[in-house]
């Protein structure tokens, strides 16, 4: 289950931060940071800049912090593909004005990021402090306020990755089979859409036609249903048989295999707990498969 975070101190209201758009400086003139940024190679550098206005006095009041407590405005980033979390820039918030303008600018190496890039803008407690207020933040780095923007680094990730390949070599599976789900059942931390592939046998014209056509025929719809069921079954059964997946109970980063499959299971079996499902899947596989067929409503459209 994804953890709900309740912080042990008072945070500021979100309107204490007014953030301008992130600007991307790939050439001499800036452009707004897009939601999707394809084609970045390892040698590229993302040069980012934005301005934020912070209502410092109200923020201190919200958080119960005295005027002499040092605050930082920080921009940091994390990448779902590499699992890295890095600082982009820190600026001391020295003013106590109602509206303090801060410029944030920094670089991210293209080689450090993959999957989804999250860029956080935060106001933090600069150093640990002791205070009489039991609800005031006291640890260095405590997040008092934050805002996030996300950028998708790979545009193909909005679709389920499908590759049409020739099974003739035998390396990919039976040369007369129609498809194969290829995924790494041992690494649920991997970005789902970067590590899962539906391989379609290029030598099987009916299956290729079924996944290629925009207005499917009845035959194509049936083939799609069968593929849909097979993929869902492969993912669900693979996950339920994995000890680590069962232990972590959905505690995976967004976009990872673990998170996506956990969400799929929750959507398909909203009222069932993982241990019960795993027991059914291993002890009554025939029932489980039939139940899954019904929940997916295959062959109905």
């Amino acid at each position: 289950m994804k953890a709900v975070i309740a912080v042990p101190y008072k945070r500021a209201k979100s309107d204490r931060l007014t953030a301008g758009p992130w600007e991307l400086w790939l050439t001499e003139s800036p452009s707004p940071l897009p939601l999707v940024l394809p084609g970045l190679d390892y040698g590229s550098v993302l040069r980012l800049r934005r301005e934020v206005i912070i209502d410092v006095s109200s923020l201190r009041s919200d958080c119960g912090l005295a005027n002499d407590v040092r605050l930082l405005v920080a921009a940091s980033w994390s990448s779902t593909g590499t699992s890295l979390r890095r600082n982009l820039v820190n600026v001391d918030l020295s003013s106590d004005d109602d509206a303090c303008l801060v410029e944030l600018a920094g670089d991210i190496s293209g080689g450090d990021i993959a999957g989804t890039l999250h860029i956080e803008t935060s106001v933090l407690l600069a150093h640990s402090q002791s205070t009489d207020d039991p609800l005031a933040a006291r640890r260095a780095g405590s997040v008092l306020l934050h805002e996030r923007q996300s950028v998708q680094m790979d545009p193909t990730t909005s679709f389920f990755p499908v590759e049409v390949v020739d099974f003739k070599t035998g390396l990919l599976g039976n040369s007369e089979s129609g498809w194969r789900l290829s995924w790494n059942i041992f690494d649920f931390e991997q970005p789902f859409l970067g590590s899962v592939r539906l391989l379609i046998n290029a030598a099987h014209p009916r299956v290729v036609g079924a996944v290629s056509g925009e207005a499917p025929t009845a035959e194509a719809s049936a083939i799609r249903s069968a593929i849909y069921f097979d993929v869902a079954r492969g993912l669900v059964l693979g996950a339920l048989a994995n000890d680590e997946f069962m232990e972590r109970d959905g505690d995976y980063p967004n976009g990872s295999c673990g998170r996506v499959v956990y969400t799929l299971i929750q959507m398909l079996f909203p009222n069932d707990a993982l241990p019960g499902l795993a027991a059914t899947a291993s002890q009554r596989r025939d029932y489980f498969n039939s139940d899954l067929q019904g929940r997916l409503r295959i062959f109905w459209s």
Binding site: V7, Y42, A74, R85, R139, P253
Partner: protein, 263 residues
């Protein structure tokens, strides 16, 4: 940046199924610097040369031989190999983290370039090597070592510090440090926790190291949800690390006193 061959996962899986029970000698014979199914990341660096791959294989093979290859290694030999191999991999694989995040890199190394070394390194527990040592993931033979070096070296200036840390930490402790990528990925945290752990465990030999690191990691995971540790100075991160270990020691001493009292 250097680009390594990427072996498609379904091909790796097929090779791994056979390699996991094959003899070290037969796998050594089949080891190669290329595979027809391999692809490369299209841009972002120069492809590793055949000479580079051969050197990587030879250097790792030399380390393995020093640690008893092809005979089944003792736990101590395996640990020694891991330390030295971590340093070789980090030096000879100057790849971007985004490249290292691609499973195909590690599957090429484990299934094509070094299958005999993988089989040898993990041959101790039975006649079959776990498939996880060949395919990509946190337990992949080379992937786990490369990322160890990467995370432990972050914010470090001297390479000798990495070597010292690797020699001082046990396998279970290293696994604990890397277990949660979201924690290991925070710049400088992994090395700081490792340093803090070694200091505190030396000061409290009465406490089991396993308990110390496990309990501390749980606390760091909780803290990282509301502390942006990546935005702090190394000193401030060090302060948090020290404070967490002091709390862990107090908590474990409390537990031990309670259990002693109850006895």
């Amino acid at each position: 940046m250097i680009l390594f061959p990427l072996l498609p996962h379904h091909v790796a899986l097929q090779i791994a199924e056979t390699a996991r029970s094959a003899s070290v000698a037969s796998l050594a014979e089949g080891a190669a610097t290329e595979h027809s199914a391999c692809i490369y990341t299209p841009t972002g660096g120069a492809r590793v040369s055949k000479a580079g791959l051969t050197k990587l294989r030879n250097d790792l093979l030399e380390l393995a031989t020093s640690a008893g290859y092809p005979e089944i290694p003792t736990q101590q030999q395996a640990a020694l190999f891991d330390v030295e191999a971590t340093i070789v991999l980090s030096r000879q694989m100057p790849i971007a983290p985004a490249e290292a995040a691609k499973g195909g890199v590690w599957e090429f190394l484990s299934c094509v370039l070094l299958p005999d070394i993988v089989r040898w390194r993990f041959s101790g527990t039975g006649p079959i090597t776990s498939i996880e040592r060949f395919v990509a993931g946190r337990r992949n033979t080379c992937q786990r070592l490369w990322w160890r070096a990467y995370h432990l070296s972050s914010r470090m200036e001297a390479g000798s510090q990495l070597s010292g840390l690797l020699r001082s930490l046990g396998e279970d402790e290293l696994v604990q440090l890397m277990e949660r990528p979201s924690l290991a990925g925070i710049e400088g945290l992994c090395g700081a926790i490792a340093d803090g752990f070694l200091t505190i465990s030396a000061q409290h030999p009465d406490l089991t190291r396993r308990e110390l690191i496990r309990e501390a990691q749980k606390r760091f995971l909780r803290l990282s949800s509301f502390l942006w540790l990546e935005s702090l100075t190394a000193d401030d991160v060090g302060g948090h690390v020290e404070s967490v270990f002091i709390q862990v020691v107090a908590s474990l001493h409390g537990t031990q006193s309670t259990s002693t009292a109850s006895v």
